[in-house]
Amino acid sequence: MTGAVYDRGYRPYEGDRGGRTAARAALWRASIRRALGLRRPWRQKVAPFVLLAIVTVPAVVNVGVKYLTRNTPASDIEFITYRDYVGVSNALLVFVALTAPDIICPDRRQRVLPLIFSRPLRGVDYVAAKVGAMAAILFAFSFLPQVVLFVGQMLVSPDGALTYLRDNAEVLWQVPAAVALLALFYAVIGVAIASLTTRRIIAGASIVGLFLVTSITSEVLVGPREHVESMSVVAPDEVEGDRGDGVIVISPDGTSQRTEGFVVRVDRSDPSAAPLLNVAGLPLVLRDLVFLGHVDPGHPMSGLAGGGAMAVGVYALWVVAGLAVLVHRYHEVER
C-alpha cells in the first residue's frame, strides 16, 4: 500500500466504555457471527443454514402429517415425540465438528490471541465467550425446531390449541432443559478438543473421531443384543417394573384403539454400563432423565442400579474436564 495518508483529523472518543463484561459479550457476539457465517463469504453460511433446515424438516413433516390425518384414527400416532426430537440428528454433531474448530483454531493459528488478550478481558472470559457462543447456537438450532413442532401441533390439534397446550405443558420446561444440557455438552467438548490444535481439519476430524470411536466402543461392549427379547401385552396387576404409556392395538380391520391400563412388558438381557462411554449419546441419557425421570426402558442401561446418577456423573466429568482444558489453554498470563 503506497497510498497517501490524508489528514482527516482525529476525534477522541468521549462515549461510554464497557469493561470486562462488555468485552466478553463482544467476543461472544463475534464468535456467533463467525459460526453463522455472517459478514463472511456465502460458503461459510451454507453449513449452519443447511443444518437448521435438516433439523427442522422432521417437525414440519410431523405437523403436516398431523394436519392431514387430523380427523382420522391415525392422528394419535406420534411420528416423533418431543423427547425423540432432542438430539434427533447426527447433523448436529457434524455441525459441532465444523464450527467449534472454526471459532477457535484461527485465533491461535493466526496469532490473534495476543491482540484479544491486550483487551480488558481474561482467559476465562475468552473460554466463556467461545463455549457460550457454540452452546447458544446449538441450543437455538435444537430449540427452534421444537418450537415449530409444538406451535404446529398446537395449531392443528383437533382438541384445540389451548387443550393441547394444557395437555403438553410439561414439555415447556423439559425441552429447553434437555436441549440446554445437550448444547452445553457438545459445545464444551467440541471447543475443548478444537483448542488442542491450530488446524481446523485436525480438530474437526478429532471431534468426529471421538464421537465415532466412543459410540462404536460402547456398542461393541454392550454386545449383540436384542433390544426386545420378548414382548407381551399383560394386565397391569402383573407388572412390577416400568409401565408404558399405553398400547395402541390395531385390529385386522384397520381400526385402532388406544388401550389404557395395559402395559408392555419388555424382557431384556442384562443392563450394561457401557453406554456411559458413548460421548455423543450421553446427553440423550440425560434427556431421558429430564423427560421420563429415569433411563429409557429400551436403553441398554435401563435397569442398571444407579444408572441415571452415573450418567449425570460422567456428564459432569466431561464438562468439567473440557472446561479445565480450555481454561488451561487460554490462560492469558504467561506462566
Partner: protein, 312 residues
C-alpha cells in the same frame, strides 16, 4: 491524578525465564509523549510490553503504566492502552473494517460506536478504500496499518508499537513513521519498540535504550544527541578546498567519509561555513548539525550499567 502519571515507571523490574533473563533490574521512569524503546532483538522490548499489558508477570520488581499498578489491575491498563504486536496477528478472512470494529468492541466500545471509530481510524491510517476487503489479501504495509488501526480504535491514552516499520519498504516506513509522529498531536502517547535507531531519532522525543534486558540510557532524544557539536557539510568533491578555507577562518575541519566535518561548531560557525561555501562557489548539498547518531550513543553506553532512574 492519572493525567500526570508517567507513561511508565519501573523499579527493579526483572523477568527471568529458565534460559534467559529477559529484563534485568530495570529502573526507569518515562514521561508521556513519543518514546522510543530501543535495543537489539532479544533486548527485552517485547517482554517489557507483555509485562506492561499484564500478559507476563514480572519475576521481581514493580511496574506502573499510566499510574496504574499493572499487577493490581491489569484490565484497567488494557482498557487504556492499545497494542500493536510485531508479528502477524490479524484474522485473515475478515475485512479490515470488521477486524478493527470487533477489536473496538473488545475494548469496551458499544457496537455502533466501534464501527464508526473503525471507519475513522482506518481513514486515518490511509485504508479508507480498502477497508471492506479481507485482510488476507493485504500487502505487508496495509496489514501494518490495520494493526495500527486496531490499536487506536478505542482511543487509547497510550499505544505500544512493536517494530511497526518491520517489513515495510522505504516509502511505507516513512508513512508509518509520519503516522506515529502524528499520534503525539492527538494526545496519544507512544512507546515505539524498534531496533532501528533511525526510526526513533525521527519521531521520538524520549529514548529508552535496552541491552540484554538492562537499561543503557533513558533521556530526551535531543539531550542525548546534542553532545558532539560537529557540523557536517557536503559540497561534493571539492572538500579539500573547503577544509583549507575553513582553517583560514579559524575552524577545525576535516574530510570524513566524503564529507567535511567541522569541529566545535556553534551558531556563528554555521554562518561562517555558509559564507565560505558561497565564496568558494561550491554547491552546498547538505549542511547539518553532526549529531551523534543514536547508534553512537548506544555503542558508547552499551555494556555500562546506567545510573538508576536514567539520565533524563
Amino acid at each position: 491524578m492519572t493525567a500526570v502519571a508517567p507513561l511508565l515507571r519501573t523499579r527493579r523490574l526483572t523477568k527471568r525465564y529458565p534460559e534467559v533473563t529477559a529484563v534485568d533490574g530495570l529502573d526507569v521512569e518515562v514521561p508521556r509523549g513519543r518514546v522510543g524503546l530501543v535495543g537489539a532483538n532479544g533486548a527485552g522490548k517485547t517482554t517489557l510490553f507483555r509485562m506492561m499489558l499484564g500478559l507476563s508477570l514480572p519475576s521481581e520488581g514493580e511496574l506502573e503504566v499510566l499510574g496504574v499498578d499493572v499487577g493490581r489491575d491489569p484490565l484497567a491498563v488494557r482498557s487504556r492502552v492499545g497494542f500493536m504486536p510485531e508479528h502477524d496477528c490479524l484474522p485473515l478472512d475478515q475485512t479490515a473494517a470488521d477486524v478493527v470494529a470487533t477489536f473496538g468492541e473488545l475494548s469496551g466500545l458499544p457496537p455502533r460506536a466501534a464501527r464508526q471509530r473503525a471507519s475513522d481510524v482506518l481513514d486515518l491510517v490511509g485504508l479508507d478504500e480498502a477497508r471492506f476487503r479481507p485482510v488476507g489479501g493485504f500487502s505487508t504495509g496495509m496489514r501494518q496499518r490495520t494493526k495500527l488501526a486496531q490499536a487506536l480504535v478505542a482511543d487509547p491514552e497510550l499505544v505500544l508499537l512493536d517494530e511497526p516499520t518491520a517489513g515495510l519498504d522505504p516509502m511505507g516506513r516513512e508513512e508509518m513513521l509520519a503516522l506515529v509522529a502524528r499520534l503525539g498531536t492527538f494526545g496519544i502517547s507512544v512507546l515505539l519498540a524498534t531496533h532501528l535507531l533511525d526510526d526513533v531519532q525521527q519521531v521520538c522525543d524520549h529514548v529508552v535504550m535496552l541491552d540484554a534486558g538492562r537499561l543503557v540510557v533513558s533521556g530526551s532524544t535531543s539531550g542525548l544527541l546534542e553532545t558532539t557539536g560537529t557540523l557536517v557539510v557536503d559540497v561534493g568533491p571539492e572538500r579539500a578546498a573547503l577544509v583549507a578555507a575553513l582553517a583560514a577562518k579559524g575552524l577545525t575541519a576535516a574530510e570524513v567519509n566524503g564529507l567535511v566535518e567541522v569541529q566545535g561548531a556553534d551558531d556563528a560557525a554555521l554562518d561562517v561555513v555558509r559564507d565560505v561555501v558561497a565564496d568558494l562557489g561550491l554547491p552546498l548539498h547538505r549542511l547539518t548539525s553532526g549529531l551523534t547518531s543514536l547508534d553512537e550513543v548506544f555503542l558508547s553506553r552499551a555494556g555500562r550499567p546506567a545510573a538508576p532512574g536514567g539520565t533524563s
